[in-house]
């Protein structure tokens, strides 16, 4: 188990390094940075001055190493637009995105796994059909549209919950439902398929031959094995929700990382864009690592290899 984790961490570090290179390069490939910082009305001299001020005239490897060195000390420079450092901006916005992603994932897991289990046990009954219908709707419906529908019903018509903002827990209910529903179908289907497969397996027959109760057969023997791939999927989906919550954040005017990235891109605020890309990528890497470790903890065939 120890060597397994060390190996995974080494892989994760090399992926992180690669992503830092890519995120750094992407901006430099998107055009002349000095010109876009200076703006359309700047003279050639002003652009040159900016190029020297920002160190953009030096070799790109030096620029990258310098940026990386600062990044390792959590220094991503200052925002071109906001009167604040990039780190302060991110620290300010991150809790909102993390709260939203965490709530959405918790909601998705709490619905997807029980529903998948019930659908598998009651295969080909109306319960199974309803669960599949629920999944198909979730997959087919764009999340922004579902978010708007929630606003119309619960914020505008019923006035139970606020439509926009990020001040209290009430503000997170509707966005978490919208984002969580988006993540539910894939997890539910994977749970259902996994359970169906596992319930057919020989060791379930062995468990039943011992006289174990249906509950213990399903929850101890079947779910434990069926849920292994779902854990990995959940981690990846959380990464996706952190990075991809930009749509939901703008529908509900939540000032999270997604919103920040979107604003930064539209304002050519490169230090912010770089930092957000890197941070979301790091989240992804950490989550994948956690998924691997969780998988190993659940599956002794991986753990003891």
């Amino acid at each position: 188990m120890g060597t397994f984790i060390v190996r995974r961490i080494l892989v994760a570090l090399s992926v992180a390094l690669t992503i830092s290179i890519v995120s750094f390069m992407l901006l430099h490939l998107s055009g002349d940075l000095a010109a876009s910082i200076a703006g359309p009305e700047a003279t050639a001299e002003q652009v040159e001055q900016i190029r020297i001020d920002y160190g953009l005239d030096r070799p790109i490897v030096n620029q990258y190493l310098e940026w990386l060195g600062h990044a390792l000390q959590f220094d991503f420079g200052r925002s071109y637009y906001y009167q604040s450092t990039v780190v302060d901006l991110i620290v300010d916005r991150m809790p909102i995105t993390l709260t939203l992603g965490g709530l959405a994932l918790a909601l998705a897991v709490c619905i997807a796994i029980p529903l998948g289990v019930v659908a598998a046990i009651r295969r080909d009954t109306w319960v199974d059909r309803l669960a599949l219908l629920f999944a198909v709707i979730g997959q087919a419906m764009p999340s922004f549209w579902f978010g708007l529908t929630l606003i119309v019903i619960f914020a505008v018509t019923l006035q139970w919950l606020p439509a926009a903002g990020s001040d209290g827990w009430q503000h997170f209910v509707l966005p978490a439902i919208a984002l969580g529903y988006y993540a539910t179908p894939a997890m539910m289907r994977l749970t259902r398929t996994g359970m169906l497969e596992v319930l057919e397996s020989d060791y379930i027959r062995t468990a039943r031959a011992k006289g174990l109760s249906a509950r213990s057969v399903i929850f101890k023997h079947a779910l434990r094995n069926a849920v292994i791939p779902v854990v990995a999927l959940a981690a990846v989906e959380l990464g996706f929700m952190l990075g991809g919550s930009v749509v939901i954040e703008s529908v509900f005017s939540l000032n999270g990382l997604g919103q920040l990235a979107w604003d930064a891109i539209s304002r050519n605020d490169y230090p912010v864009v770089q930092a957000v890309v890197l941070i979301i990528a790091l989240f992804y890497i950490v989550l994948t690592l956690l998924a691997d470790v969780a998988n190993a903890a659940l599956d002794p065939r991986i753990r003891t290899r």
Binding site: S201, D202, Y203, R205, T206, A207, R208, A209, K210, G211, L212, S213, S216, H221, R224, N225, L298, D299, P300, R301, T304
Partner: protein, 335 residues
């Protein structure tokens, strides 16, 4: 009184084409402490019979019987909960595939102790002690350390030994072993057979041993029931069956076993011509007649289960004929 008695046991499965009569009214009994072999080729209903006895039939299967008594308990009348109370405790099962019959996610100790704890036979410590004792008994070294291992760390032969220990945990009255050696190497097969026979004799547990291999039967069984197309077509104590096989199918099976010293080297292996009839829908008359060298017009009628000697019966119109004339004349051969 017999430990287990089945009369007119039937298992029907609805399939797309109609109803599959997997087990078509079989009679058999098992005495305490004896080993009964159910023999037959794939699809003859032997596994369905074992699942029916355990109450593990697929949900859509329908079981009926005039009598299915286990130690005075009518198995067709009790609730699913009562059934669960018997499984693992008083009747246990060993399956064919040791590689997949154990849950990969739990330690051997966990899986061994499970039935013992489920049936409240004692504390965790008692269960562990019994598991260690049984693992040692089935020939597994370092038994205490094995309890913390996972199934994938063991070979197939060892896993089957664990399965046997697991079946013995609650000292059951009956063990059903469904082809427990089929998936193993020949050398391991012999060890496992010997072990099963020893354990059965020392614990006095009755065993229903299911196999397609008459060579195995001769070595371990007290009595044999040969199944064909969902019916028991011949039943006898083991020596009688080998001395005087009375159903043409039994004789066919016996002639398929190459015997060292008797089968000349280079000669062709024997096989029974034809295929097993479809069990979907009603089967009229003798189910073996399309493959039988003796078949006549009267085989269109269902033959009686004719009593030949004490405990020896065969379901054939010609079962009481002398043996020589009934040997298959021209068996099909495969090279």
């Amino acid at each position: 009184m017999a430990l287990l008695e089945a009369r007119n046991l039937r298992v029907d499965l609805p399939v797309d084409a109609g109803t599959l009569h997997a087990v078509r009214g079989i009679d058999f009994h098992v005495e305490r402490g004896e080993m009964l072999c159910l023999v037959g080729e794939s699809g003859c209903g032997k596994s369905m019979t074992s699942l029916a006895l355990m109450g593990l039939l697929p949900r859509r299967a329908r079981l009926t019987a005039d009598c299915l008594d286990f130690d005075g308990i009518d198995l067709t009348a009790i609730s699913a909960r009562q059934r669960g109370g018997l499984r693992g405790l008083r009747m246990a099962m060993i399956f064919q595939e040791p590689m997949t019959a154990l849950n990969p996610s739990y330690t051997l100790g966990n899986q061994l102790c499970e039935a013992f704890l489920r049936h409240r036979l004692g504390s965790r410590q008692n269960a562990r002690e019994r598991a260690i004792h049984l693992l040692e008994r089935v020939g597994i070294s370092a038994a205490a350390e094995r309890l913390d291992q996972y199934p994938h760390q063991l070979s197939g032969g060892l896993r089957q030994r664990v399965m046997i220990a697991m079946a013995l945990m609650c000292k059951p009255d009956l063990i059903i072993a469904d082809e427990p050696t089929t998936a193993l190497d020949v050398t391991i097969q012999a060890q496992i057979l010997r072990l099963l026979r020893e354990l059965q004799q020392e614990s006095g547990t009755a065993v229903i041993f299911i196999t397609h291999d008459l060579g195995v039967v001769a070595r371990i069984a007290d009595r044999v029931a040969v199944m064909y197309a969902g019916e028991v077509i011949e039943a006898a104590v083991t020596p009688a069956l080998y001395a005087r096989p009375s159903h043409p199918y039994t004789r066919g099976l016996l002639s398929c076993i190459p015997a060292p010293g008797k089968t000349p080297p280079g000669s062709r292996l024997q096989a029974i011509p034809g295929v097993v009839p479809s069990l979907v829908g009603h089967v009229e008359g003798c189910a073996f007649r399309n493959r039988c060298p003796l078949a006549e017009a009267r085989c269109e009628t269902t033959p009686p289960f004719m009593a030949l000697n004490e405990g020896h019966r065969a379901r054939c119109h010609f079962a009481d004929r002398p043996m020589a004339s009934a040997t298959p004349s021209q068996p099909e051969t495969i090279s």
